[in-house]
């Protein structure tokens, strides 16, 4: 059973988002990393790059597939988790903690409200199966 923490926001593209002041921390969900298999590489954007909601900001490569990752909201990258270059397995082991991918300064914090709650995301993944 995949882990779906209550205090986070979710997207239908299987990303999670945590609000920290005016910054959003984003990664992929436990369900996503389970589906992908062992992650071997994470392609991240550069600091300062700007995205609008639903833009692809990078990709996750596992032994089985490559998937693009999308930002649920608009923002400007303030930090990226560069440790994933050497330790991509963090995404599998701790997707909501050490496996975080990017931090963004939110352009429009209101966009977070249109994301899914933990319960809604859980229902969504069950329906997908």
């Amino acid at each position: 059973m995949a882990n779906v923490p209550d205090n986070l926001h979710y997207s239908k593209d299987h990303e999670w988002l945590r609000v920290e002041g005016d910054t959003a921390v984003i990664g992929i969900t436990d369900h996503a990393q389970e589906q992908l298999g062992d992650v071997v590489y994470v392609e991240l954007p550069r600091e300062g790059e700007e995205f609008i909601a639903h833009d692809s900001f990078g990709s996750v490569e596992s032994v089985k597939a490559v998937s693009e990752i999308f930002t649920p909201i608009a923002g400007k990258i303030s930090e990226t988790n560069d440790s994933l270059n050497d330790e991509p397995e963090k995404v599998n082991k701790d997707p909501y903690g050490d496996g975080w991918m990017i931090k963004m300064k939110m352009t429009n914090p209101g966009e977070v409200d249109s994301m899914l709650t933990a319960a809604e995301y859980e229902d969504f993944t069950k329906a997908e199966e």
Partner: protein, 436 residues
């Protein structure tokens, strides 16, 4: 078979072609010959190939080096000659291992960390390096030395013209024949790379280290192109001088001239750019029992895995030619390559010195060279070289007017280990007689 498909005759298969469009009578093709007649015919045609009978001092991107007979002998083995793409590692370990060795040799020669399974040739390898520099730096301007082979420059233009990359040129110093760092002063924070060739098209060695610094100061990459791969046997590697991407033409390593191809492009770079490299990559892996094997790797760079995000649209390599080069290098060995390179340099410097003594000839560039140099004659180069070929049986060089109409009297001379002292003296005497 006709009976099987219920058709009366072969003619009936063409029923859909209107009668008035059909060929009536026979094609204008000569009658078949016996094997003996055919061999005689080809022998007679072969005697008309006078270029093969002349002494060659031609370089300019394709070089006359000796290829030991073992090269042709080994590549002709059907396991190598007929093998195609090693997509199934289970049955392609031989091919994959050979390519892995090739990649390793390229890294050793260029002084870089990682090399791909080869590109089509030196010119396309250089063009791909330009595209890679844009991907890595996300900048759109590239400054290329005007001493890069003119045909390589043309190929680069072809590759970038619809890719939104702007190519600028940097001029050489007319006295030294080298491209000074100051020629790249237009470099700024929108420049992805500086591209140079060393030894350059005029034979002169560039100051790679200084240009590496110039590029890095502006956050750009340095791409070094090498057309005469034998120079790796004598000169400090571009990697050791600070290059970020090294590309080369591998034809000098046991690959026949073959009227222009097939040749093989070498492509090498630093580990950190591994995911931006174009072309195939063979990697070393271990199976469940811990046995070593080889596979194609980092395939997500390639277009059959990810169409829009592929690093290039090349989905092949010059397998057989790369194998040629690999066998040549492993046969000659480290010392053999150094020896060949030394001979090239020594013979070329002897030739240059003697030609310089001719009153009707001069050497316009003061920069150091490996095995190619420009000669300036007192008369036009094209008729001079033509006379040298017809009257003395010597192809003395490449007239530069072919590439630049403002240089009617200049020609490029190349000397390799295959040229004997007698041949060089013959060239000198020929030039002396014809420029009196």
């Amino acid at each position: 078979m006709l009976a099987e498909i219920g058709v009366a005759s072969t003619e009936k298969l063409f029923d859909s072609i209107p009668e008035n469009l059909r060929l009536h009578g026979h094609l204008n093709v000569p009658a078949a010959m016996s094997e003996l007649e055919l061999l005689n015919r080809f022998e007679e045609m072969g005697t008309r190939n006078q270029a093969a009978q002349r002494t060659s001092f031609l370089g300019g991107g394709a070089y006359s080096h000796y290829s030991p007979t073992i090269v042709d002998h080994l590549i002709s083995r059907s396991e190598f000659f007929t093998a195609y793409t090693p997509y199934q590692p289970e049955i392609s370990q031989g091919t994959l291992q050979a390519i892995f060795e090739f990649q390793t040799l390229v890294c050793q020669l260029t002084g870089m960390d990682i090399a791909n399974a080869s590109m089509y040739d030196g010119s396309t390898a250089m063009a791909e390096a330009v595209l890679m520099a844009e991907r890595v730096t996300r900048r759109r301007k590239v400054i290329v030395s005007s001493a890069v082979h003119p045909q390589y420059l043309e190929v680069a233009h072809t590759y970038v013209q619809h890719a939104g990359i702007e190519l600028q040129t940097a001029d050489i110093d007319p006295a030294s024949g080298q491209t000074p760092a100051s020629a790249f002063d237009a470099i700024d924070d929108q420049t992805a790379a500086i591209v140079i060739q060393s030894p350059n098209f005029f034979g002169c060695l560039e100051d790679i280290a200084a240009l590496a610094d110039k590029a890095h100061e502006a956050g750009a990459l340095l791409v070094v192109t090498v057309t005469e791969a034998m120079s790796f046997g004598l000169l400090k590697s571009p990697g050791a001088c600070g290059a970020d991407i090294v590309v080369a033409e591998g034809q000098s390593f046991g690959v026949p001239l073959s009227y222009g191809g097939p040749y093989v492009g070498l492509f090498a770079t630093r580990d950190k750019y591994a995911r931006q490299i174009p072309g195939r990559l063979v990697g070393e892996a271990y199976d469940q029992q811990g046995r070593r094997g080889f596979v194609l790797t980092l395939a997500t760079r390639e277009q059959h895995i990810r169409r829009e995000k592929a690093t290039s649209n090349i989905c092949t390599n010059e397998g057989l030619i790369a194998l040629c080069a690999t066998i040549y290098l492993e046969t000659m060995g480290r010392h053999g390559i150094q020896d060949v390179a030394k001979q090239c340099a020594q013979k070329a410097h002897y030739a240059a010195r003697e030609i310089g003594k001719i009153s009707g000839c001069s050497l316009p560039y003061s920069g150091p060279f490996f095995n190619e140099f420009v000669v300036r004659a007192s008369t036009e180069a094209v008729p001079l070289l033509d006379k040298l070929a017809r009257e003395k049986g010597i192809d003395g060089g490449i007239a530069l007017s072919r590439f630049d109409a403002n240089r009617p009297n200049d020609f490029l001379v190349c000397v390799t280990e295959t040229n004997t002292r007698a041949q060089i003296d013959g060239l000198v005497e020929g030039l002396r007689a014809l420029t009196r």
